[in-house]
């Protein structure tokens, strides 16, 4: 199956396309419902469980402006699935068109190693990482707003800003407490 490529298709007028990838297929549905309510421009949401995407939809699929990986920290499988999906994405996307969204970060059952692993992953790929709360409508709305901000830039609606430029500002850097220098 072909990799998803960022610039292989023409953009549509006043339309932004976002792909939400989530192994559990839960949060993406509520996010999608809120995302399409945006009125300033048309938002098309594509939902997937994992990558690669089926070949059959290749023709009808529009150009994807932003790929969001939703990772639920309470499930190990969620993170593993996202890691595998990442391999099926064209490297061109990592110049500002990929974003990580993490839920349940405050849950007590989450071992710190998992959160650190996600942060490291995001840092190594130079992608922004957003924390979201998926249980309340307010949480969904907040997450949607932040996604829309990034989506607008990625789809080219914001003059003088490109996705690459924005990603330089928002990308997750390796936090200092993970890699402590050793003073041996």
């Amino acid at each position: 199956m072909a990799l998803l490529k960022p610039f292989s298709k023409l953009p549509c007028l006043n339309t932004a396309n976002i792909l939400l990838v989530e192994s559990e297929e839960q949060f993406q549905q509520s996010l999608a419902d809120t995302l399409v309510e945006e009125t300033a421009f048309t938002v098309n949401v594509r939902l997937a469980k994992s990558l690669p995407l089926p070949m059959e939809n290749e023709e009808s699929r529009p150009r994807i402006d932003l790929v969001v990986f939703i990772i639920n920290l309470t499930s190990e499988l969620s993170f593993q699935s996202a890691e595998v999906s990442l391999k099926n994405l064209d490297p061109g996307y990592f110049l500002g068109k990929v974003c990580f969204m993490v839920t349940n970060a405050r849950n007590a059952s989450v071992p710190t190693e998992r959160l650190d692993a996600v942060r490291k992953l995001a840092a190594s790929l130079h992608c922004p990482m957003l924390f979201a709360e998926d249980q309340t409508p307010d949480g969904v709305t907040n997450a949607t707003e932040r996604l829309l901000t990034i989506l607008k830039v990625a789809a080219g609606f914001v003059p003088m800003a490109t996705a690459l430029y924005l990603s330089n500002l928002t990308r997750r850097t390796a936090p200092p407490d993970i890699e402590q220098p050793s003073f041996d």
């Binding site: 792909l19 192994s23 559990e24 297929e25 999608a32 419902d33 399409v36 048309t42 938002v43 098309n44 949401v45 594509r46 939902l47 997937a48 469980k49 994992s50 995407l53 089926p54 059959e56 939809n57 699929r61 499988l77």
Partner: protein, 345 residues
């Protein structure tokens, strides 16, 4: 009324759920209309129990009548206690044409031959099920009404459901059943649960079965959620396939409320990354128990959401196909079907 009968009545009142007490008493029919009206069902159970005791004494009711009340209660609330399913094997020629009266007489006479004294009550329920209540006694004591065994048999089917049976009583009951139902043997069906309705529906396949088809009909028709045209699922087809396979394995619609399934695994450990363990001769023994308020629905959801890979492994789909919830898995396939499990009292 003697003490044991009083105790029986008191225990029974405690057990009958408060909501159904009034209707159960009405069905019992041993109270006059006036007496029925005089019972105040808003009082706490112990007060009602005293009142009822007084009324029963007034009416001169005996243990026999109390056991009728118990039976009515159990028939109306069958989902209490632990039920075990058995299957009759090798029918004789006339097994399918057994009539109720014939069965009743035969059963009573056979059981009375084997056990004396014993108190047997047989009642036919509206849905073709024959309910049998047995209070066991022996040469030293009268029938013990505090620990009765209940048996449910659907005539013309080989299935029997039993609750509260001790291992000593089991061969006696088996013998009586086999002879009166005109079969040659009886075996443990390896199916048990708290809800009689659930295990009965499972064994008799009273759920919506889905059969594998060459050209699956679009399941999308059923789940017609009005979706926004701007939202599109990329992997709708794989999702539909998963749902189809999940339904094939676990049925569609409302499923019988089975609660647990237990697998006793005695297979070899096979892992190519771990040489030491793979080279072991002995099997890796462990016991896996799945539990849920509605097990089949949980498993179906596991399969349709991808947590369990589809096609569903035969270990899980056997629950519905074979109508069992206890399996012993060895390397040569499932364990023998005559695997006995001791029903607890």
């Amino acid at each position: 009324m003697d003490d044991s009968t009083k105790r029986l009545l008191q225990r029974l009142i405690r057990r009958i759920p408060a909501q159904t007490l009034r209707t159960t008493l009405e069905k019992w029919g041993r109270l006059t209309a006036a007496q029925q009206r005089s019972m105040d069902f808003t009082q706490p159970k112990w007060a009602l129990s005293e009142k009822l005791l007084a009324i029963c004494e007034e009416n001169g009711l005996t243990a026999k009548h109390i056991t009728e009340l118990e039976m009515t209660n159990v028939i109306d609330n069958p989902n209490q206690g632990m039920w075990y399913a058995f299957q009759l094997m090798d029918p004789e020629d006339d097994a399918n044409s057994i009539e109720l009266t014939q069965f009743k007489e035969q059963f009573k006479s056979h059981l009375r031959e084997l056990v004396r004294p014993v108190s047997i009550k047989i009642k036919k329920h509206t849905d073709e099920a024959v309910w049998i209540r047995i209070a066991w006694g022996d040469s030293f004591s009268r029938p013990n009404h505090l620990k009765p065994t209940y048996v449910v048999h659907h005539l013309q089917t080989p299935y029997v459901f039993v609750t509260s049976l001790t291992s000593k009583q089991k061969p006696l009951l088996s013998q009586a059943l086999v002879l009166s139902a005109r079969y040659q043997a009886i075996k443990d069906a390896n199916l048990s649960g708290r809800k009689l309705t659930a295990i009965r529906d499972l064994l008799m396949r009273k759920y919506q079965q889905v059969f594998p088809t060459m050209y699956p009909s679009p399941l999308g028709e059923r789940n017609q959620v009005v979706s926004n045209p701007h939202i599109e699922k990329e992997q709708a087809e794989p999702a539909a396939n998963r749902l189809q396979m999940a339904c094939e394995a676990f049925g569609d619609g409302t499923l019988p409320q089975l609660q647990t399934v237990v697998y006793k695994l005695e297979t070899k450990f096979r892992d190519h990354t771990n040489k030491t363990m793979t080279e072991r001769e002995e099997p890796f023994s462990c016991v896996v128990k799945f539990a849920s308020t509605n097990l089949l629905e949980s498993l179906r959801h596991c399969a349709s959401s991808g947590i369990a890979s589809t096609p569903v492994t035969p270990l899980l789909s056997s629950i519905l196909q074979k109508g069992r919830n206890y399996f012993v898995i060895t390397d040569n396939g499932s364990g023998p079907s005559t695997q006995t499990r001791q029903p607890q009292t």
